[in-house]
Assembly symmetry: C2
Homo-oligomer: 329 residues x 2
């Protein structure tokens, strides 16, 4: 079997996750990691795989089938994905929802000009949650969709806590409110405010001598991050922080409550949920499945920018159509 040759651009948590996910897929091989750091300073978990300078990536154009971009959505991907799409089929996990149309246009232009294929915004939200929204809304047009996130670590909110004066270490968990989810499950189609859907739980290690009441107040009243939520702040020791809060769990729920039948009186409920011990490792696993899809679609002549909405599920699987129909349908 000829393996799908994968390149990784960016070797943080996500890049390492992709490296691990490749090991779980026999039809793939990692051929190189590209970094903005000094390649000599980067040690991979996989022996024998070279590390290159990101700026030299184009020289490896013919050795890589799909380049998986593992940078951040704020500044890395808007620049890197269109740039690398000139030379490679690309996959990214761009997750700034509001900027997806612009990012799509930039990647689409680069792909079409160079005969490559890109699949953007791959992961779980955007990604698997988006898929569940489109399936559920297409099937139950009369209904209401709810997305709940958590329990999980929000990187953005954790960063915000750490900017508060007197905070040495900090982490924030987004927690979906059980009562709100139960209301949705009951078929009531409630209108839920931001405060009713999620709470925010913060764990903080304070600097010695810091004013704890002031820290708590600064966090709870922070605009755009915490002021619209019921927030709790726990002060803990650095030992406890390191022992308990060293993982990146996440997850969430997509629910659609719909009505069908004569007079639209019949309740129908669709629910999808993820419970992830590691957010970056799971996102990496999704990226890898879509890398396989990109390879298959490209072979059929597909070019331009795509999203998870445009990819038929069969492309994600290493199994043949016959095998899928016999065993998974």
């Amino acid at each position: 079997m000829e393996k799908i040759r994968i390149g990784i651009a960016g070797y943080g948590n996500l890049g390492k996750g992709v490296e691990m996910a490749i090991r779980q897929n026999e039809d793939m091989e990692l051929v190189g990691v590209f970094t903005r750091r000094d390649p000599a300073s980067v040690t991979l978990a996989t022996k024998g795989v070279p590390v290159y300078k990101l700026e030299d990536a184009k020289e490896y154009k013919n050795q890589i089938d799909v380049m998986i971009l593992c940078g951040g959505s704020a500044t890395d991907l808007p620049q890197q994905t269109p740039e690398l799409a000139q030379y490679f089929n690309v996959i990214d996990s761009f997750d700034t929802h509001a900027n997806i149309p612009a990012h799509f246009a930039a990647v689409d232009a680069a792909c079409k000009a160079n005969g490559t294929l890109g699949i953007i915004s791959v992961g779980w939200d955007p990604g698997l949650f988006s898929l569940n929204r489109i399936y559920a809304e297409s099937i139950l047009p009369n209904g209401k969709t709810y997305t709940f996130w958590g329990k999980g670590v929000s990187q953005g909110h954790s960063d915000a806590i750490r900017r508060v004066a007197g905070v040495k270490r900090g982490i924030q968990y987004t927690v979906p409110v059980d009562e709100a989810m139960d209301q949705v499950r009951s078929g009531k189609q409630p209108e839920l405010t931001t405060r009713q859907k999620h709470t925010r739980e913060c764990f903080v290690v304070a600097e010695e001598g810091a004013d704890l009441a002031q820290i708590e107040e600064s966090i709870k009243t922070m605009k755009n991050y915490f002021d619209e939520y019921n927030t709790t702040v726990h002060f803990i020791s650095e030992e406890e922080f390191d022992a308990v809060h060293n993982k990146m769990p996440h997850g969430g729920f997509v629910m659609r409550s719909g009505m069908t039948g004569e007079g639209e009186q019949t309740h129908q409920m669709i629910e999808y949920s993820l419970k992830l011990e590691s957010n970056p490792e799971f996102t990496s696993s999704v990226l890898i499945a879509y890398a396989r899809a990109a390879m298959k679609m490209k072979k059929e002549g597909c070019v331009g920018c795509k999203t998870v909405f445009d990819v038929a599920p069969s492309y994600l699987s290493p199994l043949s159509g016959e095998e899928l129909r016999a065993h998974l349908l």
Copy 2:
């Protein structure tokens, strides 16, 4: 907007459900119902829509974009879907898992010989549950998938009860075992026997003077239907039967428990569930969404037999690619 012209072949619970689902989708219209009964004896809920003899269907070849087959999988669909695929793009809900490959081949041959498109085995299992199996297994290759059904009415098991001597009315609910589901959710990847996964709950109205102990024994020991399950039999009055057991609820769960990361030690859990007050109405709603997809794919030149695995999610939605990316991604 030019509407998608739908025909319905077979007007039982599923056919009526499709009729209702069409009303919820502005881009569709019902142009005719085809029946093996005397058309004059069939009264539709929708005024002004004609009822035709099924055998005359081919005369309406140019008036219908997609024919939705609403017959049973045992004898109707294996004959009707390939037959009607000679003249129409077709959608069916063929659900005899073991016979899907043969059915696929028959429909594929008819479609390819006549330049039509067919999508078979559309519904929730096979259908949405199959989609969740393929997505989850493609993303988490190291893991185990579990499907639980219920709580819901099994038509086959209800029929089996009604064949027992002394049974006047009977209905059977398949019930997933909470403890088994919780074990799966815990990430343990248990091996579960048939008995551990589901129980069967029967409600029976006995004939006057019937031997209740004998009925209960006959049901509980019935081979292939009940002998491998923990089964309970409740004898109730006909009044209670009519008042309480007059619906066709169903649903179920698809779960995948997988491991990722270095050493494959990280638990990742994907869960999908349906809670349906009406099984036929929900299945109808899925059929309608795939009728839209069939129409779009056919316009792009696609012919032959397909399954839900081959259909990109965007085809199911009435929204444009731009709208989907802006609002659902």
